[in-house]
Amino acid sequence: MRKMIFNRISFKLGILFSGIFLIFLLLLGYMLYGVFSNLFIDYISQELLTRGANHSKALEEYYSQATLEHVILMEENVVTSVIITDPYNNILVYSDPVTNEMKRFIGRTNQISNNQILNRNWNNYQYIVSVSPIKDGDLGYVYMFYPTNVLKEMVFVLKFLIFVASIGIILIAVVLIALLSSIMTKPLLKMKEATLKMAKGEYIQKLNVKGDDEIAQLSKSIQTLGEQLQYFEDTRNDFLASISHELRTPLTYIKGYSDVLIKGLIMDRGEQQKYLKVINEETKRVIHLVNDLFEMSKIQTDHFLLNKELTDLTTLLGNVVQSLTPVAEKKGLKIIFNHVKNISPINLDPHRMEQVFYNVIENAIKYTNQGHVKINLLQDETTTKIIVEDTGIGIPEKDIPRIWDRFYRVEKSRARKTGGTGLGLYIVKEIVRLHDGEVYIESVECKGTKVTIMLRREDVIK
């Protein structure tokens, strides 16, 4: 429990902010102490100098015993003390008893001609001392003393008040920092809990983080990530179910028909051919499925290489249309191929692009029960457009944005019936993207679908 508290981000943040705050507060306290204590010393020094100079001036104007006594009288019953000496630093008069420390400052310097501070070290000495010469020292000197114990008491009060204020500020600041750290990190703890649950498989998580800052955005990202993971989990499960079904059906056919042939139950040559044809068709279906999966895996691992060459699209598309015409006719559909004349060859991978056209046109035939499938090949100065239009069942509007996703199928039941793994359009989109082209889909349910593939004419761009 204790370890958990120390490991919390709120605790670490609190300690960090409190530490920074404390350092700056100590710095401020030290600076304030320095400013005020030096201000005191300066004030007292100036005061001593002024008073010493006044006394010296009075004595300069009328030097007599009466004046000396008058000066001493002025300094009685006050904090400061005064000592007046002759030019040879022999003490003449004093306001308070002369201590040994006072004597140490008298006569320390010879021939002082200006007012000056002899000592301002209030920590190590008992007095702040100033000296003022009387008539440039010819008549003597006025020594002024200010006891530092008074100053020390004042500085102590200053230090004490700064210390008390600092303690008060620290207490309030630490509490506020602790509260704010806790409030600020609460969403992070929620997100941690949510991600732990997501790791256990509970992908959909609700995080009610208010605002639009980075933390709120992160929580939204986590929620979106969870939804995406749930979607991929669902599609993966559907895909596995679909793949199992897709593989099981042809494999069951293959096994059943081949068993019959192995056992020699069918003797008629024509019947045998029919059975072998079924086995062949089902094998093609499995190969198609495995190829799709292989393509997808190559796209995802970036091993999908294009062998581009200048290709005549009219011929390429014509071949695809020709090979799919029997399928369309079998369903009673009309397949129309329109193209403008003199279509310039385009630099592309013909095998991959053939796969694209095959997938799109086959889809159009697969989901059209009556009417026609129309293929238009157009070209302008910069682009070549391949438009595949059908009069089929269409795609619901809500499914259109996801139609290009891997394993996405509009209706699972419909997909099982028509076959397919939900990979066809994903492969189409990726191949077109690798050709630096674009593909988009427009569809109205029960009316039809229009797929447009746009490829750049690289010769023009260059």
């Binding site: 008491e153 004042m154 009060v157 008040l161 303690i167 008060g168 207490l171 309030i172």
Partner: protein, 78 residues
Amino acid sequence: MNKFIWIILILVAITIGWSFILFVYMMSWSPPHHMGMMVGRATVYSQMFSWLRGTFFLIVLIVTITLIIWYIHDKKKK
């Protein structure tokens, strides 16, 4: 730890903090002595102790009120 203990600790810390700041404010802007801040440590200590006495009673009052609320809350919960 019970959240009421945290609340009590927070309230005590804030009360002491504000009390210290107000004491310094009082000593600076309306000192109790005619000498202002130029008083010795004995006077400051004496002022501080009498101020803290008041703070102590205030803390006792706050803690008591919080404990009463805690007791009522606990009873309702049960």
